[in-house]
Amino acid sequence: MKNKTTKKQKIRTVLVGVAASPGYAYGPVLKTERRKFTLDPSAQPTSTLAAEEKRFRKAVETTAKEIEELKKVAIERLGEDEARIFDSHLMMLKDSMLLDPIVESILKGAHNARWAVHSTLSGLITQMENSKNEVLSERASDLKELYNRLLSALDESVPKRAPKKSNGPSLLVAHELTPGMLMTVDKDNVLGFATDIGGRTSHISILARAMQLPAVSGLRNISNLIEEDDMLFIDGTGGMVILNPNEDDLNRFKEKLSVYNKQKQELFMMRQLEPMTLDGKYITLHANIELPMEADSVLDFGATGIGLYRSEFLFFRKGAPTCEEQTHAYSHILKKLSPHPVVIRTLDAGGDKLVSDISATDEANPFMGWRSIRVCLSRKDLFKEQLRALLLASREGHLRIMFPMISSLNELREAKALYQECRTQLLNEGVELPEVKVGCMIEVPAAVMMVDALAKEADFFSIGTNDLIQFTLAVDRTNELIANLFEPHHPAVLNMIDRTVRAAHREGIPVCVCGEMSSDPLSTLVLVGLGVDELSMTPWSIMECKKIIRSVNYEDVKATARAVLKMDTADSVNRYLRQKYLQMIIDLGISSFITSHDVKNPMDKNA
């Protein structure tokens, strides 16, 4: 026989999941879990047992140190909340339900330490996996992580084998990206991610986008289907993977990849280019971020600062973070961005999430309830702690502080007075502080009506379009029955924005828009035309936004804005904008247009 293919035929499988991060990749698979350890169940001589126990205790110590280290990295990369899982791992490690049986297995069962660990933990893992609760049976992964760590730590006496290096860059496949795995990912050797679970908002998505790698999640059972020598094609734009693709697939992949790379390259070339209209009007483009680690890559996306850092991420855990923890997180972001500005929004969350020592009553109307600046002004202890941390961090870069949900001049004054109090206190302590601009969000209709007064006392405005639309139109957009009423181009909303911009410019202060609206292509043009100075959006929208800005004349979009302000209905605004700019946007190849607009207004098509 001439043909000597000994490899067994690989089966082509197509799996559909969630498009977690755009892009395409093809390569060998790297399975994350599973590592084989040599195990010896035989009885050990009694004389060695005490030494075995000692070895085990030492392995526990080593493992605890490892987890502490991971926890530190996790706090830095993902924040305090996600790092909590490592506290659970440490508790398991100290749990007598785990330690006692292992020690007993060594001393009474005369097993070596590794077998004792293996047999005890395997028992627990099996018990967990057999649980009728599906979620919990999945969560056996925590114990498995511990199992791997302990056995690895016991490997020390054996000549340490270098961890099996992947054959060059590969695709990471896992049931779920655990915090531990995320912290040890070698950025240069990963082409993309595919996981069984996780949605568009999960960490794999945020992380992959920050790393600019394609990812598909929600694939259900890919981690069981694949084998180590499988090849995988990931389509992170479409949310699909092909296991062991055939020639046709690969040709199509190459085509898609070259188009994608060309687009991406083109966009990245634009990183150097200024976000300036054809007739020379400069629009500042900033990034919105949630995790401290996202700060690492925003400059790569062409942002020249951070327009919104949502500080509440630090607070979503038990008990408020200390002043030191907060200072550390803020400093990290400020240092990364320096000398570019970073706008940090003070706590903007429902009271129930922040304060655990008072019983949170179920609010009938939480969006209009005890939240945001209202919580801060009634819990001054928390607020002052945050302001102090912000001021301490301000020495590391260019900080701007922003108060959310201001609905009256009194609130702004009170918040500013507390800020001054903290500042004076620090100055009295001998801390030198740079100037810090203090502004507020405009997201409540009352603030728009009183915007002239607010403009005299704030250093800048940031319009939170999501809340402004919701409150202006009285539409709860989480309610599916009325979701179609959530209309950013409603003339009422556009006139609110116009009023805010005019008041701000009269007082010589800048206006930013930091809601989702700023990254919608048609809305971008209207906002620029209305005179908005800065747009802040998710990092991966920035380059497309830049492309749009560079394709229009400021005088022209100004005329457009004037025209739509006079219109009576959102329908006529949308029709007008589409007629004027749709073709241009399609010609520019702006992909987000299709998803953000056509899906939102399906009825509009016939108009």
């Binding site: 899982i85 508790m91 989480t478």
Partner: protein
């Protein structure tokens, strides 16, 4: 000795992180604390014991505390469950 029945309202049930939060409270308490679920009663100071119960969302559990701060520890636990272990419940 005091007991309290609590409904599990978070989306994922008592997996590793919530279990850690429970033990964070019980571990600091001076009282003996036990947790009862579907006829199994375990020491609530052991994270593995708590995890192994595989408590599902929507079920009811019973904590029993015995000691000088028994009232306080039960109140803290109740609050923790009511806060859904600070998990995001939307999505």
């Amino acid at each position: 000795m005091q007991s309290k029945e609590i409904v599990v309202t978070n989306k994922l049930g008592v997996h590793a992180r919530p279990a850690g939060m429970i033990v964070d409270i019980t571990g600091k308490s001076k009282s003996d604390v036990s947790l009862e679920y579907e006829g199994n009663k375990v020491n609530a100071k052991s994270i593995l014991n708590v995890m192994m119960l595989a408590i599902t969302p929507g079920s009811t559990v019973k904590f029993t505390a015995n000691g000088e701060d028994e009232e306080q520890v039960l109140a803290q636990l109740e609050q923790l469950f009511r806060d859904n272990f600070h998990e995001e419940q939307n999505d």
